[in-house]
Each structure stands twice: as structure tokens, then as C-alpha cells.
Homo-oligomer: 347 residues x 2
DNA sequence: GACAAAATTTGGAACGTTCCAAATAATCAT
DNA sequence: ATGATTATTTGGAACGTTCCAAATTTTGTC
């Protein structure tokens, strides 16, 4: 077994029909007679035929393949985003190329080019830092829809789906202020990214609205990781006028901040309030459970995929910019009592 | 711009050569004259030609595409595994289909079939629970190499790459026993999986070797997640004769155990020793840093990919079973002092 | 300048599908 | 039965590449 590939012609011979008829059956056409359809299907099973999509694509030039490239799959936010995409892509009968760039622009360029050669009919990308609008020009010129997620690229004429970073950070600050905090830090994140700028912007806005002066020392930028959170809390606690609360760039940073606090014998949620951003799955089961801004990465992945599929099917590539609503989820880490289910709509 | 696809024939015309010559240039053949090569390459750039791998595959039947399917991308162990695979696959000029099954056998069957139709030339799979040896028969019959990772499937005639679960759990127990613990629990994991059986086996072996009787109450099976860890510690602490240490099914469980301990005002690494399994990235930066069995998922991903590529290139599909060595990484959570770098080879 | 040898180039014929236009078969109304 | 409809089936000709065998050009030798 396993010598030659079984082809549509083999099926045709064995079933005593023409290859055209077999093709019709394959695509579930209603033109073909019920009896022949059954016969052909039987032979297909019997000979163990497997459809060759490559050949089909060659003829029809529309491929049931999409690409997804993320900047850091190691980060569970992006892993969940990918899972969300996977879900809808899969049930639409598509299959996805997935690649990780690890923030490398070069890798990103390579994998996008490679995916293009392989004939993707759409691309979802969470761009590496430093990606420029021009980097997707060639795709869009070819009429291949592109959806940018998470990080927006100013000036790119493609669809985007980002979360409402401004409103989210703003709500976090407002929440902390309402609990009486005045020295609220902003911790973590690389300063030269759009997402950072937006979240920091929301933080400043809300501070102003609460009548609290912005203090440059309280905005401590570090890597957007758990280790970065540890570092941030270390730096902030060196200040003469220490903060009593922090809104963090993301949940990973927030977990790091909790770690750093405990290393200093401070109990997060009791001695110091911390709010995260993203609401990754661990946020709920951590101790203390993390108060955070829920952006539902999996949902974002699903929506991005739906948007992409819509564009693929509708032929026209009309850029659409969606900002995804976000909500504050109050849990223990901000010290606001034990009601895990309290939630407030934000945007 | 962007009306018709630019093809090899267009290039040929524009460069004043035949399509065969263009094809030769494309594959970097040494047969073609340096001057013509330059000319052709210039035209290729000028017209913005993009190679159509689908068409090429059709002719040559070998595809520069591999598939990877994992059972839970949300789990950072698997996300890292995927990143490892991605790295070597990418630099070998391949591109990968990646799909998540979420432990669904049906999804797994579907995506594998779909990938097959798309012409993958190899598959790496971390099988969903309940996968049977027969499920990959059709792939291997067609001469497509398959590498099973993480969870072995008894009886499957394909290559596998799993970590040395027995030696790992054994080393963890030995470590705890050497610190004076006698009531050592085994926490987390679904009881009906091969990995669970192996780790529990290692636990029992080491217990016996240390002259400690196995106590059924101390083996508490739960979901292999953070929440499962919280649950496990909850159940164990109900016992009259409480444990003083635990080796956990994996790091996620271990983190949950730490959470659960803290919720009971016990400090992990001080009042109770915990050892994880996997050594995910967070293990190092958590507080307390987690003593764990390092299996280096990214490294496993890389090795799996290398093994697969080797098999793809060598044509022959000779099943190979690799068990990947594992080592104990001693950090704070087991209460063995503060030397983070202490490490011991295990298998 | 003629011949052989080496280097380079080149037309088809694949690869496995889908599509089109046209052929054939079945059904219907008269 | 007969012609008109309608339902089904069917041969090529694509799609964009690679491969083969053969043709052509260049180079080398005497």
C-alpha cells in the first residue's frame, strides 16, 4: 500500500464516470444524480482518495488558507488570541499558517513573504515592534486582505482591531482613586510603542480628572513581562514618596509586581493595590485574584478572524478600524473587597 | 497595479529568455550563465513576481510545509513547544500549519485530514487525550513522517519524543526526602493519562527507595491547571496526617498549590515545600522561584522539528523513540536555601 | 577553420484539479 | 412517436510550475 497517489482520474475509471463528474461530486454540486454520487463516494472511500487542494487552488486561485503571525507566542495573551483565531478559522473550513516573529522585523518579513508564496488568502498580524505601514503594501496591492491586531500601525491602509487602551487604563485609575489612592504608579511596558502611549495617556487623563498631579517618577517603563514587573516595583519603592497602588501595563507585569511586593513582605491587595491589563486566564485563579482590564484576547482573535473571513468572501478590501471595548474586572488584588463578580462596563 | 498575476512566462518574455531558464534561475541552478541570471533576477524584482509554491508542489510533490497540532495552546508549555518548532521549521525554509485541538479528538481528526489535503510533508502532534495508534495510520501509509511529542501513544508505529517523566518525578521526591520530608504528596493531573502514570510511577519508586510507604491519600488527582492545584492543596489539607511537601504534576499545578497555601497563610518554600514539573518561563521569576523538573519545552519543540525534518529529507520513515533527559532545578519553593543556580543532572 | 567537448538554453509534456461549452440521456407534453 | 425541455454527463483546455531530452551556443584544440 502507498505507492502511487490516487487521483480523480483513478476514481473516475473505477466508478465508470468521467473525471468531471467526480469533480462535481467533490464539490457537492447538485447537478449530479443521486445514484452516481453515491457510487463515486463509495469508490472514493474504497480507494482512500485524498483531495489535492494544491491542484485545486492552482485552477481556482482562492485558497482556504490564512496566515497569522504574532510577535510573541510565548506570551499567553497572544497564545489565546491565536486560539481564538484558530477556532473560527477552523470551523470555516480554513487552515492557518502560524508563525512567531519574536519581535524580529526580519523574521516577520520572511514569514509574510513565505506565506504569500504559499498562497494565503488573508493575513492576521500582530506586528513586531517597528513594523511600518509599507510592510503590507505588497499584500494589499495583490488584493489580499490584512487585519492588524493589538498594535495599530499608523498610516497603514489595512483593517485593524485594537482594544480601547485609553478607556481601560482610565478606568483602572478611576477605580483606584475611588478607593482613596493618591499615589498611583504606572508600571511596565516599553515606552516607544503605541500601546504604551495609549495606556499611559488613559492613565494621565484619569489622573487629571481625579485632580491628581502627574508625577514622572511614578511612570516606570520596563519590559512588559513578569520580570519587568519585579523590576518596576523595585524601582518605584526606591522613591521617597512611595506609591500605594499601581496600574500595570499588562497582567504579566502585574504578576511580577505582586511577586516583587511579596519579596518585600508587602501583601498585594492589602498593603498595596495592583491592577493589571488583559485579563489572561490565570488572572482569575491567581492568589490574590487579579483586578484587571478584561480585553478577552480569545474573543479578539475570534473577531479578527471573522473580520478577515468577511473581507475574503466579499472580495472588496475595504479597511475597517475597530476598537474593541474593554471592561474593568474587580477582584482581590486592588483591595476592593472580596466580591469577585463585581464588574463595570467601561467603553 | 495588481490586476493579473505575474508568472514565470511574463518574466521570460520580459527578460528575453525561455520559461525554463527562469525556472532554473528560481531554483538557483548553477547551469545558468551569470549574466542571464542577473538579468532575470532584475526583471523578477522589477515586475514584482511572487513565486507560486502551489504550482511547484503540484509538479514536484514535496511541499516545504509541515503541520503541528497541539492539544492546548493556551497552556504555556505547549505554546513554548510550538515556538521551538517554529524556530527550526522557519529557518529550514519551511512554513507550518498550526492547529489547536483543545483535547477534542474530532477536531484533531479534522485538522489532520485538512492538513493532509493541503499537502504537508510531515506532522508533529501532541495528541489529544484518547488518541489511538490507528489515527495516524493513513499518514504513515502515505509515507508522511509523524512525530508524536509529550504524550506517547502505545503501539503507534511513529516516532516519539517524550520527556523522562519517571526519572523526573523520582528526582523530585529524592530531593524532598533529602531535605527531611516524609509526608510527600503527589498533586494534580488526570489519572487516566500515560504521563500521569509515568510521573506517579517515578514518585512511588523514589518513595520506596527512600523507605517511605506509599499513602493513597497523598496522591490527589485534579485538573492539570492552576485551579487544579488550588483544589489539590485544599483536599490534601483536610487529611489528619497532613503532607509537608508536594511534587506537582506540572508547574501550573504547582503555582496553584502555592496560591492555595498562601490562602491558608502558609508560605510556600518555608512552611511547605513544593516542586513543579516542566520549568515554564514563569517558574524562574515567580516568588518564590519554583523548584521544578526542567523539561525545556522549547528545546523539545526544536528537537521534534529537527527529527521531523531529518525524516522528511531522508525519505525513509523509520520510527525513532526518544526520551528526553530532564533535570532538577532547585529554587526557593522547596525550601532548599537560596542558591538559585544549583542544578543536578538526572537522566 | 573544422571538429569535439563543454556550457547554456529551450520546447513540450507532465502534475491534479476546475471550468466551459457542448454532448447525451431522461422526462414531458402533445 | 416526436419535438421540446430539463437533467446529467463529458471531453478538452486551462492554472503555474518543473523536468526531460534535445537543440543551440560557446569554448577549446589542432
Amino acid at each position: 500500500m502507498s505507492k502511487e497517489r490516487v487521483t480523480v482520474i483513478d476514481i473516475a475509471h473505477a466508478a465508470g464516470v468521467s473525471k468531471s463528474t467526480v469533480s462535481l461530486v467533490l464539490q457537492g454540486s447538485s447537478l449530479v444524480n443521486e445514484a452516481t454520487r453515491a457510487k463515486v463516494n463509495a469508490v472514493i472511500r474504497e480507494l482512500g482518495y485524498v483531495y489535492n487542494r494544491g491542484a485545486a487552488n492552482l485552477r481556482q486561485a482562492k485558497s482556504k488558507i490564512v496566515g497569522i503571525v504574532v510577535n510573541d507566542l510565548t506570551n499567553s495573551f497572544f497564545a489565546e488570541l491565536a486560539v481564538g483565531v484558530d477556532m473560527v478559522v477552523q470551523s470555516a473550513g480554513y487552515v492557518q499558517f502560524l508563525s512567531n516573529t519574536g519581535e524580529s522585523i526580519d523574521r516577520q518579513r520572511e514569514v509574510v513573504a513565505s506565506m504569500r508564496e504559499h498562497g494565503i488568502s488573508g493575513l492576521i498580524v500582530s506586528p513586531a515592534r517597528g513594523t511600518e505601514a509599507a510592510d503590507f503594501k505588497s499584500l494589499t496591492n495583490a488584493g489580499i486582505p490584512v487585519v492588524i491586531v493589538v498594535r495599530n500601525i499608523p498610516g497603514a491602509k489595512v483593517s485593524s482591531l485594537v482594544s480601547d487602551n485609553l478607556a481601560g487604563a482610565s478606568a483602572a485609575v478611576e477605580h483606584l482613586a475611588s478607593l482613596g489612592h493618591r499615589r498611583i504608579a504606572f508600571m511596565g511596558g516599553f515606552a516607544n510603542t503605541a500601546v504604551f502611549a495609549e495606556r499611559l495617556g488613559g492613565y494621565r487623563d484619569a489622573l487629571a480628572k481625579a485632580g491628581i498631579a502627574f508625577d514622572d517618577d511614578l511612570a516606570v517603563a520596563t519590559a512588559p513581562s513578569r520580570a519587568g514587573g519585579v523590576e518596576a516595583v523595585g524601582r518605584a519603592m526606591l522613591l521617597a514618596d512611595k506609591p500605594t497602588a499601581a496600574v500595570c501595563f499588562n497582567d504579566a507585569v502585574a504578576f511580577g509586581v505582586c511577586d516583587g511586593l511579596r519579596a518585600r513582605r508587602l501583601e498585594p491587595g492589602v498593603d498595596f493595590a495592583v491592577v493589571g491589563f488583559d485579563d489572561v486566564i490565570e488572572a482569575e485563579s491567581a492568589v490574590p485574584a487579579l483586578t484587571t482590564i478584561s480585553v478577552d484576547p480569545q474573543g479578539m482573535g475570534r473577531r479578527a478572524a471573522q473580520l478577515l473571513l468577511k473581507q475574503i468572501n466579499s472580495g472588496k478590501v475595504e479597511a475597517e478600524a475597530i476598537v474593541s471595548a474593554v471592561r474593568l474586572v474587580v477582584r482581590q488584588s486592588s483591595g476592593a473587597g472580596l466580591d469577585t463578580t463585581a464588574r463595570r462596563a467601561v467603553s
